[in-house]
Amino acid sequence: MMIFNNLKTRIALWYTALFTLVLSVSLLASYKIVSYQLKGDIISELATKAEIINNAFYKEKSEEHIDEENHEKSHGEHEEKSRKKQNKDFQKVFDLEMTRLVTEYTDNNYLLFVTKNGNIQYITSRYKDIAHNNLFSKNIGDTEINDNPFTYQVLKRDEYKVVIAYKLSSIKDIQKRLVNIFYIIFPASLILSIFSGLFITQRTMNVINQITNTAKSITSTNLSERIRSSKGNDEISKLIDTLNKMINRLERSFKQTRQFSHDTAHEIRTPLTIIRGEIEYIIENESGNKETINKLENILEEVHYMSSISERLLMIHNMDTNNIRYHFEDINLSELLNDIYQDAGILSADKDITICSDIEPDINYKGNKELLTRMLWNLIENSIKYNKSGGSTFIHLQKDNDIISINIKDTGIGIPDEDIDRVFDRFYRVDKSRARKLGGSGLGLSICKWIVQLHKGNITVNSKEGFGSEFTIKLY
């Protein structure tokens, strides 16, 4: 999964996940709190209603009580009558009150009923057929009537039992509405959080990417470059500072190494001159032992090889310090390449390699003749050196829309895939044991690349191990 390897995506995902968790918890909590509070409100409301009814009872009962006292004091039919009458009065008032209440509660979600000795006397008309006494077993609680949830309170007085209940479906409605709101809020904030997460990480990543890009572009040739530091003293600027310090140290040690190789190459030139001069002198003037002279000639070849290495090292120093202005002149590139092709013909005939050329005549180019010759020779010589017996080399030069392209292709041993990116690196040799035998120092191609770059061109390589290589140079 490529996408999860991306730090930006990962941070955004973490951010979203955490945000989702927090959001879920807070939505759930608000749902619970709202539900709980709503129910609490209803229960206290019921309690108030119950209190009102209780008060009605109390009034009646205290009247009854007075009546009874009166009844004890007075005797006879009259008393009996008045008591009956009073009872009747109470009944009347009670009936009236209950009817009023029952009517009052008919229109909303209340259920009110009164039983006397277990028989329902008054009931909110809506629930006449469905409410049963035995649904309300506790003094306070929840029940279900016809699939509708109710909360109720029961009041008992003598033979009377008053039940007042409230339909909870209004709470359910509110809960449902809450859930509906959550359904909108949740995905909306989720999307918002993903985007804001991406935005925030993007901003951070931009800074990091900038650092990465600069660090990537810094190679051995531009170690003097630094990562642009941001203002402030935050973690990012500390990171930049650390990286810059590291580049500093690298640059210093690089400079030392470079200076060392330059000094060494420089220092060995005088002894090499002397060795060479002395050997040449001996060979020319002593008509001594043939074997000795043969050996001296071998030494001379090695001295020559050493000289060419020291010369390349000095050239590389020039490449790095870039302090030399090379003389650019108009060159007939076709003639130059033809010349090299002629020389290469001698070399290839020796190794049984066919060399072909397709050189467009009279292509002129402004460049440094010495360097271009050196570069082209190096590539063509390689195509012969690393060729197979019976193989071939093709040299191609053409100009198309002001772009000069030089193509050198061989049917040689090729370059393994794992080495192809490094062939232009200094001191890099594909086959170490073989290269030395063929006189390679691992500097040739890096010098070629530098020469092409000095001419603001580019060089590319295409190769398949065992089938051959193809170098293409574009000059503009």
Binding site: T273, E280, E311, D343
Partner: protein, 223 residues
């Protein structure tokens, strides 16, 4: 011919001196800049071989003083400094040629001879070796009166042989002079070119100029 060699490196000056003396030049050696400057004013010398890095006055300053005093004798700069700026500066100051170390003695000799010839007689730029005529200005080559067409490389090769006549030249020295690029000294590069040159100048057995030195290189014999 008298040569002044100003070179502080004893071993280098030693083999140059020996080599030049072998070619019947008279060589005086100075090991420091100050001494060299004094000696350079002597009219006895036909050419000065000058190292740039010297103790005391450096080679470029010596050259500048000489040219400021209108002493126009040929100066060949010799240096281990591989800086093109040095070369350009030296040539601007009036040096006649430039040779970077490590060099081969053959190369040095060829340049010394060319410089001497140039200064000795500006008019006479035609050299004759047996029946071979070479015009150093127009690069025209004639043998026995017949003009010979040579490529640039073949001409360079021939001129190098003439400047080193009667000296055996090894393949590496020849290659370095004629070609600007390195190649494996084991290849038969030089031989192919020599054979072409021989064919063109009509070098055959009974009248041979360029002789093979077996296992080493070639020699142009003028006697």
């Amino acid at each position: 011919m008298k040569i002044l060699l100003i070179e502080d490196e004893v071993k280098v000056s030693d083999f140059i001196k020996r080599g030049l003396e072998n070619e019947r030049f008279i060589v005086d050696v100075c090991y420091s800049g100050n001494e060299g400057l004094e000696m350079a004013y002597s009219p006895a010398y036909d050419i000065i071989i000058l190292d740039i890095m010297l103790p005391g006055i450096d080679g470029l300053k010596i050259l500048q003083k000489l040219r400021d005093d209108f002493i126009q004798k040929p100066v060949l700069i010799l240096t281990a400094r591989d800086s093109i700026e040095d070369k350009i500066q030296g040539l601007n100051l009036g040096a006649d040629d430039y040779l970077a170390k490590p060099f081969s003695f053959g190369e040095l000799l060829a340049r010394v001879r060319a410089l001497l010839r140039r200064s000795a007689n500006q008019q006479s730029h035609i050299i004759q070796v047996k029946d071979l005529n070479i015009d150093l200005m127009t690069h025209e080559v004639k043998r026995d009166g017949y003009a010979i067409e040579l490529t640039a490389k073949e001409y360079a090769l021939l001129e190098f042989f003439i400047n080193n006549s009667d000296r055996a030249l090894n393949r590496i020295t020849i290659a370095e002079h004629v070609w600007q690029y390195d190649f494996d000294p084991g290849t038969n590069f030089i031989d192919v070119y020599i054979n072409r040159l021989r064919k063109k100048i009509g070098d055959c057995n009974n009248n041979r100029l360029i002789h093979t030195v077996r296992g080493y290189g070639y020699i142009m014999k003028t006697k």
